[in-house]
Subunit: 221 residues, 2 copies
């Protein structure tokens, strides 16, 4: 865990806090340093398995190859949970949950790749991995799955109304606009059998039972 | 604009495409390289003004000071617009809009700082900046506002059903679950006058008229 100097009251210090933030989101930004010393970033889907973050790319992606060579890397995750509206711009802010994890990337072995793929899938659509056919050998070969260690990390959470100003403007409104990600009814691909039933996992996602779409609230399994 | 090797069909090449992605989001991840050569990342609120990205921090934030010294920096932005559910894990994917901007950071002058603050506010709550009192000199002094130049950039968009597999599983469902960020009814701060009317800007945000909360659709002004 790293020390946080700015707004230390927003820091969270337990590993369970880190895992809660990582498990609530499914997209993060992976950063590393390019060969020329400049920053390299890319948004990526991810999942946590135990004490590593699994990232999923293609064996053809050049930039990820660089990061996979054991270079130091970092993952940043943020969920915007609300807009904090003060009676002035300076005190206006945002409610959020965020985490930054520093570590190094390594390939996961071929055996671990299948469970990594399943974890990635379940991070987006819980339970989907149990409904589909097994991943083929050819598909595994075309997939590059990396694990990021969690050597250092910080977690910051803001979940509060606007700060009360020293001098309040009479009658001015101030408060929070909560934000939430919702799933709309699923859109079937044009090429499927029109009688094909919507899978249970997708149904649960749309009904809001899956953790990740309730960004503003508690976040499920 | 940078070349994209992986999934080139997802690349967008016009400056208007870049601006559309940047203007549709309000949170990005800023990356730079720390003094020890390791990647440094932090999620940040931002706004675009013309051909620069405005980032907003505190004069007390040490890490941002490093980035402000003119070091190369990058901003990554992603909106997850949908979950692409195939009949197998390998073809499952996500629909998204993403942008990565590379440039250098510089301070904006004190004159520009007020319009930068207003742009930051309007990125979250369009029109709010016209409803509040002016920012004071003291508040401006406590605010560090930086501008990131857009020297190189990439935009990637996926907005499609799952790829049709060579061999389809009879009767299996496949499709897209669209995702969308919504604003819930505003929660007033406990310390305000209970008669204080909800500002027009906040009312519009909750009613969905403000661009940024309709992540899955067209994005307003």
């Amino acid at each position: 865990m790293n020390a946080i100097r700015r707004h230390p009251e927003r820091a969270r210090h337990e590993l369970t806090d880190l895992y809660a933030v990582l498990d609530a989101a499914a997209v993060g930004t992976l950063a590393t340093v390019a060969a020329d010393g400049t920053p390299w970033v890319v948004p990526m889907l991810y999942a946590r398995i135990g004490d590593v973050v699994i990232l999923h790319g293609s064996t053809g992606a050049g930039a990820l190859r660089h990061a996979r060579a054991g270079a130091p890397a970092a993952l940043s995750v943020m969920m915007l949970d609300g807009i904090v509206v003060a009676d002035n711009l300076f005190d206006s802010s945002a409610n959020y949950r965020s985490a930054v994890v520093h570590g190094t990337l390594r390939d996961v072995g071929e055996e671990a790749e299948v469970s990594a793929l399943e974890a990635m899938s379940d991070a987006l659509v819980p339970g989907r991995s149990t409904e589909v056919r097994a991943t083929t050998r050819k598909e595994r070969a075309a997939t590059a799955t990396c694990a990021l260690t969690m050597d250092r990390w910080t977690v910051k959470v803001r979940d509060a109304p606007p700060t009360r100003p020293a001098v309040t403007t009479g009658g001015a409104w101030a408060g929070v606009v909560p934000l939430r990600t919702v799933a709309d009814p699923p859109v079937p691909a044009a090429w499927i059998d029109s009688e094909a039933p919507v899978p249970d996992s997708v149904r649960r996602l749309v009904e809001g039972a899956a953790g990740f779409v309730t960004a503003a609230g508690d976040t499920g399994p």
